[in-house]
Structure formats: structure tokens, C-alpha cells
Symmetry: C2
Amino acid sequence: MTNQKTAVARLEAVATRAGQEYLEKEGFVQLFPPRLVRASGACENIDTLFSVSGNGQNRWWQDAAGNLLPAYLAQTGQLYLEAFVPSLKKVYCIGPSFRAEPKIDNRHLTEFTMTEIEFAGDFEDLLRYIENYLKAIARQLIDHESLALNDWGLTPADLTRLRSLPLALPRTTYDEAITILKNYDPQIAWGDDISTEHEKMLIKHFGNQPLFITRYPDPSWNHGQEIEVEKFFNMIPDPQNPGRVLSTDLILPFAGEAVGAAARIYDLETLKQRLTNSRMFKRLQEKGGTLDDFAWYIANLENTGSLPHAGCGFGMSRILQWLRASNNITECVTFPANRGNLI
Amino acid sequence: MTNQKTAVARLEAVATRAGQEYLEKEGFVQLFPPRLVRASGACENIDTLFSVSGNGQNRWWQDAAGNLLPAYLAQTGQLYLEAFVPSLKKVYCIGPSFRAEPKIDNRHLTEFTMTEIEFAGDFEDLLRYIENYLKAIARQLIDHESLALNDWGLTPADLTRLRSLPLALPRTTYDEAITILKNYDPQIAWGDDISTEHEKMLIKHFGNQPLFITRYPDPSWNHGQEIEVEKFFNMIPDPQNPGRVLSTDLILPFAGEAVGAAARIYDLETLKQRLTNSRMFKRLQEKGGTLDDFAWYIANLENTGSLPHAGCGFGMSRILQWLRASNNITECVTFPANRGNLI
């Protein structure tokens, strides 16, 4: 391997491990959720699910009643982690997230490492964990300057930038972000998605630091208009802001959205109602899916109940982009996988 | 979750982490190899490869020339790790290994966590790493007796058994093992696979401790007969024992084969010759595969060369079976996945 590739591998190892050590120190227990799953392993974008077949058969699996089932590659371990929050309180996993992303570009991968956490706690706890997770990684690099410069491929400017990380990261709500963006892009309207270009404007506006965008529109709320921005079905409504959910995305300089996070619904009936009314579920039904795809998750909630909890997924490759100040995700991970790079 | 399931999750976390800590202490660097791969992610048993499709298309990926390619789920990260041995010397990964195993039983899973290592070193180093990895896990449980008994679901008998782990684990060669087995099963012949029942006989014969079976028949050697036992193409021939390779399986009480290991071929021409003449490659060709499936691995070897190295994969679920003295693999992992249990 080239020196450059070796440095990429080393930094990926160091950053992922620094994050893991932080979580272990905080008492999180590592789980190993399945990656070959029903639709319960999908995030909101089920159109990018990969399908898997065994021995040439798409419906190779079977349920207890003998029905043949299709399987997908997991995009997230979230629901599997959530099931263990009542008993273990703080859980995490580190593993591949798969996306059938057709674009071959500098921003997307078909497979990337995601560190995910779920814990008993509230939205403020969640923001704190995300902030501290990021700082634990930056700290590890700052504290090993010589290795960072000589072995891990960072520049003095990278370390200077990491040292400037503010004690409290800037935060803006989705509503505020749209208002701010109107100064830069008069076309944008409330309800729109925040694009990569918009993310760049916001990052610059907030001083070129990681930025929390919080309280996105509630997908289950009647906004009196179609909204483009789409969030996962089990985000909890914000009691202070009708029509908004307690969610946040962390946007990083160079990388854009690197963390998706929310406080979760934990009441069974509310959850089922929000799931079956979600756009994601409607698309799943068009593909032949049913509520049965979530049978394990729902049965577990019925049996053991739940408690207030929250969680997020850290996209490690986007965090690595931020560490390296790189606009090209394929240069920041050891094995960049996309539709045009299968090895 | 039930208390039993919670204990299973905790032990899985503790054991996997104890193994990881051992590797980190020894200077191994964690890599994140792809799990969505060409046939270079297959072990010798390519019949149990899962196929993946994107957007309904089996050949969704494309190479540089525009040819459409099928993709599989990785059974091993071995070749990807090997590529980094010349530069990083000691590397490891922890992740899912996928097998389209049609049997729904107490021994097989369609997905399980595997910890894999590759390092610059020889066969004796390999045996030592395997032994010490296992001991590091046992040590962690012995040293936390109260947690082990109260939170991790072990019994006093389990801990007594782990305390009796001998300083040096027993070793037998494949040839010796067959000779010994003839005393218990007159039907067995040299060249046969060592079945689960045979493994049990050997374990008992060697004092109910983990057992190394070393120096399996070389698949590329003309033995003057068909041999059933099949090993991966890039195991290195044993210079002391013509027709044998420097490989070992670690057989565990209750669990059977838990670790597959070998010193690897590192000469490009020998490697290509052994690959293209392997039974695995012939089956791959029948499925439409070519040497191109290994293009990345071969190109890397051409560009950067290699050096004497060895490695292995630790099947974590089988190690957990051994820790718990369980004959049922599905009771030993948090999310047991098989053809009849897709969640």
C-alpha cells in the first residue's frame, strides 16, 4: 500500500477507536445487531435498500408460519439497539451501513462504517453525547501531534482547526436555518430539504465549525403543505414546538451531514400509528412489505415496554473527511465502496 | 429483554472487547474491510455466498471498463487485511461474516461476528496469538468473577473450567488426528473431513480442552487420491511435511471449529497458480466468475509485494458457546440469525 493509503487506514483506526473508548468510558455496552434484515433495518430512505438472495432465491428466508421472506442489507442498527435500552440503558454498535446509492461521486458510498448509540435519556443528553464523542476524537489527535502529522496524514492546519473547536458547538433550529438561508438563496422555502450547498452556507454563517441543526418538521404533523424534508417515523414530537420533532443533524465543515439523531417515541400505540402513516411505510407497502417487517421490534416493545430514550448514528467516513479537511469521501476511508468500486 | 438475553448481550460485549483489547495491546491496527464484495470476499466454500442486488438488478455494479458485475456478501476480510500487512505489519477487523447456510440448527448461523487478524510473522507466531487471544478472554472472565456470575450468565462450573485452561493448548496434526480417530470410528480414512462428531471424540481424547489440529492436506498436492477436506488456496506448504500446509483449526469443547488459521502464500506467481488451480476457483468459474474477481488483491501484490505473514478468523459465536458450555449457538449470541430467523 502507498504511504498515503496507510495513513488513511491509521487515521480511520485511531478515530474510530477514540470514539469507541469514549463510549466505553461512558458505560455504553457494545451490541452486534444483524446486518441481513427485514425492512426494520431501513432508515427513512428505503429506496436505497440492497436486496439479498440465497442460493439464487430472492425469498430464501422463512418465518414461523412458513412464509418465504425477502432480506435486505441494514442501513441502521437503530431498532435493534433500542430494544436493549430498557435492560442495558446505554448501548452502541460499530458496523457497516449499506446504501444502494447509484451516484459515483465525492460524497456517497455504498457501504460505510457507522457508530450508533441508543441510551435512556433525553434530547439534551443526546446533544451532549454527540458533542463529546466528536471532541474525544479531536482530543486524541491533538494529544498525539507528532503521530498525527507523521503517521496519520494530518497537516498542522488540521490540528490548528481541531484545537479551535468551541466548548459548545453552535446550534440552530431548522426554522432558523431556513430563515438564515433565505439571505443566501431566495429560492429556499420552509419545508425544503437542506441541500449540500445550503449546508455549506450555514457552516460558513456559523463560523466554520460543526453545527447542530435541530427540531426538524414532524413528518406526522399536518403542515397544510407537502414538505420535502423527511425524517424517521419514530422521532418524538417537541412538546415546546408544535409540528417539530426532537431531532438533530450534525453538519460538519467539508463533509456535510455526518450524524442523524433524535429522541425516540417509546409509547407502543403512538409508534405503530406513526409507523403505519409514514411515507417510508407506504413505499415499503408498494414493495410488498407489511407491518410484519417490524414484528420483532413491536413484539419486544409489547413485552418489555420502553422508557424515554434517544440515539444517533455517526457516519465515520464523514467525520474522517472533517478531520482531514477533504471534500472527497473516497480519499478518507481505507476501502471506499461505491457502484463503480467493488473489490 | 429477558434477563437471560441481557446476560447473553453482556457476555458477547465483554468477550469481544477483551479480545480486541488484547490485539490493540499487541499493536494490531483495526481495518474496516468491505462486506459487499467480489468473490475475493469468499472463503473456500463459495457455494454459501449470498448475492446482492441494487435497484432490483443483480449486476448493478460496474468496473472501469463498464462491465456490469455481481456482488456478494463477504465471508471473510482476509484478503483485504493481507494487503495491509507489508505497511502496517499487524492488522485486524471485527465484523459480520455471512454464510447462506440452509440448515436451521444449533450449530449454524447465516451471520456471525468474526474477529480476523493478519500479521507479518510465521506459523508459530500464529499459534501463539490464537492461544493468547483465547486466554485474554478467559482471563477477563476469571478476573471479574462476581460480574461473570451475576451479570454475564456464567456458572461457577464455567469459571472452574476456564481456570483449568492449560498454559500450552494441546496440538495434534491432521495425520495424527486421523490415526487417533480410527480407534473411535473405523470408517474414517485419511483425506476425510473431520466432522462435528469426530471433533467431539478428539476433544475428549485430549482432555476436554481447546485443541489445535494442524497441518492439513495441501489442496494443491497430488495425493494420488481425491481428498474431501478442503482448505483455502493461499495456505503455504509445510516445508517439513510434503503434501501438508501450515494451517490450523482450533477446536473448542461444546462449539467445535472456532478458528481457521494459516500461514499465507506471499509469492505472486505461486499464489496465482494455486488460486487458478483450486477447486474453489473452478466452482467460481462455473458461476461466471474469473480471475478478475481477485484483480484488486493481485494488483496490490504486484505493486507492493508481500512478506511472510499469517492470520486467522475467530468465530465469536463459537467462542461464546465454549465460554457458556452450550451446545446451542443460537442461545449464545444476542441476535442469532439463520434462514428461519430474519428480524
